[in-house]
C-alpha cells in the first residue's frame, strides 16, 4: 500500500521506493531502504507531515513527497 495510507501507530516495512529521482534517493539515504521497518509515531495537527521512527531516530516526511513509496503493514 502507499505510504500516505498509513495510520498513527502502525508498523510497516518498505517494499519499494519508486522511481530513481534524487528525492527518492535522499529518502533512502536517510535510511528508508527496501526492507526497513518503521513505525508511524504521529501525524501533525494539520494533516502533514508524518513523524516516523526508523533505525532508532525520528524523521518527518511530507505525504506528497513520498509518491511511489510502497509499504506493507506488519503486526
Amino acid at each position: 500500500m502507499s505510504f500516505t495510507k498509513l495510520k498513527k501507530g502502525m508498523t510497516a516495512r518498505v517494499i519499494s521506493i519508486g522511481n530513481n529521482s534524487s528525492e527518492m534517493e535522499r529518502l533512502q539515504e536517510m535510511g528508508l531502504t527496501v526492507g526497513t521497518v518503521f513505525r508511524v509515531i504521529k501525524v501533525a495537527p494539520f494533516g502533514d507531515p508524518v513523524e516516523i521512527d526508523l533505525r532508532g531516530y525520528r524523521l518527518c516526511l511530507r505525504k506528497n513527497e513520498t509518491k511511489g513509496f510502497e509499504v506493507e503493514p506488519i503486526e
Binding site: E25, R26, M30, G31, L59, C60, E65
Partner: protein
C-alpha cells in the same frame, strides 16, 4: 600582551606557516556545532563561500604545540551532493573549494544514538580516502536508554580512532585534541570494507585491472563509484580513454541485465554494513524500557493538536513581544545616546555648516540608525538559539509545515516571518534556521513585506489625520489591522511565483528530524548571539552607514546661495508679516530640501506619482525615506515647513497635511490618498539596512536589487490601485 590573546575574542591567534587544516563534518543534529564551539570557543570567523549563500565558519583550536585551523562544514547526510549547501560541503571536504585547500584531517561527528544513519555518511567519507578521527557524541544519552557501546571494538572494526564526547561537560575534549594531534602526525585512513553484491565486486576488480594497465592507479572505491554513478566526475576523466569508457558501459549493461544495478544498491549495501556494525558494538545492558521516553512524553503535549498549537502560539507571542516591546528599552537608550552625541557635536562644528550637517545628520545619524537594530537582533538570536538548542524549533516546524508548505515555504519559515513584523533585519538573518536554500531565499525575499514597527509611525500619522476624524475609531483600528495583514497576504502568491519561476536549484524532499529534547548549552547561545551581532555590524552595518551618508549628500546638496535664501525669507515674510525667526528658518529648510538633488528628483518624477494622487512634496518625502522609512515623518515635517522635529503624535503635522492643497486649490490628501500612501509604505523596500542584510545573507547584490525592484513596483502599483478604487467610489 601576547599571552592574553587567546582570551580576547576580537583578535585571531597568530597563524604559523605550514599550519594544519582540519574540518569538522557530520550529520545535522549530531552535536557538531556544540563540539565546534567547544573546540574553538570564540576564535571563530564567519564569512561566505564565493558565489553561494552558504556561510563559511572556521576557527582555531590550540593543540599542545601548534594552532590548527578548523572549518565547520555545514551538516550533511550524504556525500552525493544535491543541494547547493551540500555541494559546498563536498567541495570543502575534497579541497575543490576556492581559497580552501584539502583538509589534512576530518573530524567526523557520529551520534551514538543514531548510529546507522551516521555510519552511512562515515562510510562514504572514509572510502573517499580521507584520514578521519571520530568524535562520538551522545554516548551518555545512549547509556541512559539502557544500552552500551563498545568503542574499542568499533575502533577496530572501522580502523580509526574514536573519542567519546560529553558535550555538556566538555568531557573528552582534551582526548579529542590529543587524537587530532596524533592523527595529524601519523595520518590513518579507515580500514573497513563494505561488501557489495559479488556481481559488482568482480566487475570492479576487472575494471580496476584494466585501468591499471594504462598506468593509472585508482582505488576500487573510485572505480565502483564510476561504475554505479554514470554522472560521477570520474567518468568525464574517462573520456580520454574511449575503450575504457566502453568497458564501463558494457559492465553497467551486464549488471543491468542481471538485475543487480538498481539505483538503491549502493545505499542498501552501506546500510547493511552499518547495521552489522551497530549490532556488533551496541548491546542492551538493561531490558529495553517499555515506558515512553521523556521526549515522547513532552511531545505528547507539545505536538498535541490543541495544547501543542496553544503553546506554540504563546511561545511565539513571547518571542514577538520580546523583540517588539522589550527591545524598545535598549533601542531607546541607543537613540538617546546618539541624540546626545548629536547635540554635543553640533556646537563644536558650528563653524562649518557643511561639516556640521555631514557629521551630525550623515555620520552620527547613520551609525545610530544602524546600531539601533542590534538589540532586536540579539534578542531574536537568543530565542532562536534556545529554541534550536532544546529541539523545540523542529517541533514548531512540524506543527506549522502544512500552513507554510503548500506555497513553497516550510514549517521553519514562521520564525523569520513573525520576527519580521517587528523588524525585517533580524527576520532575514533568522531565515538561516532553514537548511534548504530555496526555502531560505523565498523567505528572505518576502520577509520585508511583513509590516515592521518602523511603518507604525506612518500609519498612526495618516490614520490619525484622515481616517479617525472622518470615520471614527473603529475604522481607524481596522485600517491599522488591515495594513499589518496586507504584506502577509501578498507574500503568499509572491512566494508561490518565486518558487516556480525565479529560484532555481534542485529541490530536495522536506526532511525534518525530531531530535530528543535537551537543555541548551549557554556557550552555544552566547556564541550565536555574539557572532550574529558582529556580522551585522561589520558587514551590513558598513553598507548602511555608507548609504546613509550618500543619501544625506543627496538631500543636502546643492545649497541655495545666500541671495536665494534671502529671496525665500523675503517672499515668506511679505506674505506672513508676523513670521517668527524659527518659522523663517523652517521655510528656508523646506526650500533647501526642495532645491536639493532629492527634491529636484521628487519634482521630476511627480508626474509618475500623479496617478497615485501624490504631489512632489509627498514624492520627495518618499524618496528621502528610502534609506529608512521611519525618517518620512521628519521629512514630511520639513517639506510642509514645520521643521524636522515633528513626530506622529504632534498635532501640527496632521493639520498641515489636511490643509495642504494642489496648485488648483483641491485638497492634496483625500482619505484615499492617505490609504494609498500607507499601502505604498506597507509594500515599499524603504530600508537600506534590510537591503544590506539581504546582500550579506544571500551573498549577492542581485537578490537585494531584485527585492528593491519588486517591492517598489508593488508599492507603486498598490498606491495607484487604491487611488483608482477611490475614484470608483466617487472620491477624487
Amino acid at each position: 600582551m601576547k599571552s592574553n590573546q587567546s582570551n580576547n575574542p576580537a583578535t585571531e591567534p597568530e597563524v604559523p606557516t605550514g599550519q594544519h587544516l582540519i574540518a569538522l563534518v557530520g550529520n545535522p543534529n549530531a552535536g557538531k556545532t556544540t563540539l565546534f564551539n567547544s573546540l574553538t570557543g570564540s576564535h571563530q570567523k564567519v564569512g561566505n563561500y564565493a558565489g553561494v549563500t552558504v556561510e563559511k565558519v572556521s576557527g582555531y583550536l590550540k593543540l599542545d604545540d601548534e594552532i590548527v585551523e578548523c572549518i565547520d562544514v555545514p551538516g550533511q547526510y550524504s556525500l552525493s551532493a544535491v543541494s547547493e549547501d551540500e555541494k559546498v560541503a563536498v567541495d570543502v571536504i575534497e579541497g575543490r573549494e576556492k581559497d580552501t585547500r584539502r583538509p589534512d584531517l576530518l573530524v567526523c561527528v557520529l551520534d551514538a544514538t543514531n548510529l546507522e544513519r551516521n555510519l552511512y555518511f562515515f562510510s562514504q567519507l572514509a572510502e573517499a580516502g580521507h584520514s578521519v578521527v571520530v568524535a562520538m557524541t551522545m554516548v551518555d544519552r545512549l547509556e541512559q536508554s539502557g544500552q552500551a557501546i563498545d568503542l574499542p571494538k568499533m575502533s577496530n572494526l572501522l580502523g580509526v580512532e574514536i573519542v567519546p564526547m560529553v558535550g555538556h561537560k566538555d568531557r573528552g575534549l582534551q582526548e579529542l585534541k590529543d587524537a587530532i594531534w596524533r592523527n595529524l602526525r601519523d595520518p590513518r585512513t579507515a580500514s573497513f570494507e563494505i561488501r557489495f553484491p559479488d556481481a559488482i565486486e568482480t566487475r570492479v576488480a576487472a575494471l580496476r585491472e584494466r585501468v591499471a594497465r594504462v598506468g593509472i592507479d585508482f582505488t576500487k572505491f573510485d572505480i565502483r563509484r564510476a561504475l554505479l554513478h554514470p554522472d560521477d566526475p570520474f567518468n568525464s576523466f574517462l573520456k580520454d580513454f574511449p575503450e575504457m569508457q566502453e568497458a564501463f558501459e558494457v559492465a553497467r549493461n551486464q549488471l543491468g541485465q542481471e538485475g543487480v544495478l538498481k539505483p538503491a544498491i549502493e545505499v542498501q549495501s552501506r546500510y547493511d554494513w552499518a547495521s552489522v556494525v551497530k549490532r556488533a558494538v551496541v548491546r542492551e545492558v538493561q531490558a529495553p524500557k517499555t515506558e515512553r521516553s521523556l521526549t515522547d512524553k513532552i511531545d505528547l503535549v507539545l505536538t498535541h493538536r490543541v495544547f501543542g498549537l496553544g503553546i506554540f502560539v504563546l511561545l511565539m507571542y513571547l518571542v514577538f513581544q520580546s523583540i517588539y516591546t522589550f527591545s524598545q528599552y535598549p533601542m531607546n537608550a541607543i537613540t538617546a545616546c546618539f541624540d546626545w552625541l548629536k547635540s554635543e557635536a553640533r556646537p563644536h562644528l558650528a563653524g562649518s555648516p557643511v561639516i556640521q550637517s555631514l557629521v551630525v545628520d550623515g555620520i552620527i545619524s547613520g551609525v545610530g540608525g544602524m546600531l539601533v537594530f542590534l538589540p532586536q537582533i540579539l534578542v531574536l538570536f537568543f530565542f532562536i538559539a534556545m529554541l534550536e538548542g532544546t529541539g523545540y524549533l523542529a517541533r514548531a516546524a512540524f506543527l506549522m509545515d502544512r500552513l507554510f508548505g503548500w506555497c513553497g515555504l516550510n514549517g521553519r519559515a514562521f520564525i523569520p516571518l513573525l520576527s519580521s513584523f517587528a523588524c525585517a533585519i533580524p527576520g532575514i538573518m533568522a531565515a538561516r534556521v532553514m537548511p534548504d536554500r530555496n526555502s531560505r531565499l523565498a523567505t528572505i525575499l518576502v520577509a520585508p513585506l511583513m509590516s515592521c514597527s518602523a511603518r507604525l509611525p506612518v500609519y498612526l500619522l495618516l490614520i490619525g489625520a484622515f481616517i479617525q476624524p472622518q470615520f471614527g475609531s473603529a475604522w481607524a483600528g481596522f485600517a491599522l489591522f488591515a495594513m499589518h495583514l496586507l504584506g502577509l497576504f501578498l507574500a503568499v502568491p509572491i512566494v508561490w511565483f518565486l518558487n516556480r519561476k525565479l529560484i532555481k536549484g534542485k529541490r530536495l524532499p522536506f526532511l525534518l528530524e525530531l531530535p530528543p529534547y535537551q537543555w541548551p548549552k549557554w556557550r552555544d547561545v552566547w556564541i550565536a548571539m555574539y557572532f550574529r551581532g558582529k556580522i551585522f555590524v561589520k558587514t551590513a552595518g558598513t553598507i548602511i552607514v555608507f548609504m546613509s551618508i550618500l543619501i544625506w549628500g543627496l538631500s543636502y546638496f546643492p545649497r541655495l546661495s545666500a541671495t536665494q535664501e534671502q529671496q525665500v525669507s523675503r517672499a515668506f515674510v511679505s506674505s506672513n508679516p508676523e513670521a517668527s525667526k524659527s518659522d523663517i528658518k523652517k521655510q528656508i529648510d523646506q526650500a533647501q530640501l526642495a532645491n536639493s538633488v532629492l527634491g529636484r528628483f521628487g519634482k521630476t518624477i511627480e508626474p509618475a506619482f500623479k496617478p497615485a494622487g501624490f504631489d512632489w512634496r509627498i514624492t520627495t518625502s518618499i524618496l528621502s525615506a528610502f534609506p529608512a522609512r521611519e525618517t518620512v515623518v521628519p521629512s514630511l515635517g520639513i517639506i510642509f515647513s514645520l521643521g524636522g522635529d515633528v513626530d506622529e503624535k504632534s498635532s501640527d503635522l496632521p493639520k498641515a497635511l489636511r490643509d495642504a492643497k494642489w496648485p488648483d486649490g483641491r485638497p492634496l490628501f483625500t482619505p484615499w490618498t492617505a490609504i494609498g500612501l500607507m499601502v505604498f509604505f506597507a509594500l515599499c523596500a524603504q530600508c537600506m539596512a534590510t537591503l544590506a542584510t539581504v546582500k550579506r545573507e544571500t551573498n549577492s547584490w542581485k537578490w537585494a536589487a531584485f527585492m528593491f525592484c519588486y517591492m517598489t513596483t508593488l508599492a507603486y502599483l498598490g498606491a495607484i490601485a487604491v487611488q483608482m478604487i477611490g475614484h470608483m467610489f466617487g472620491n477624487n
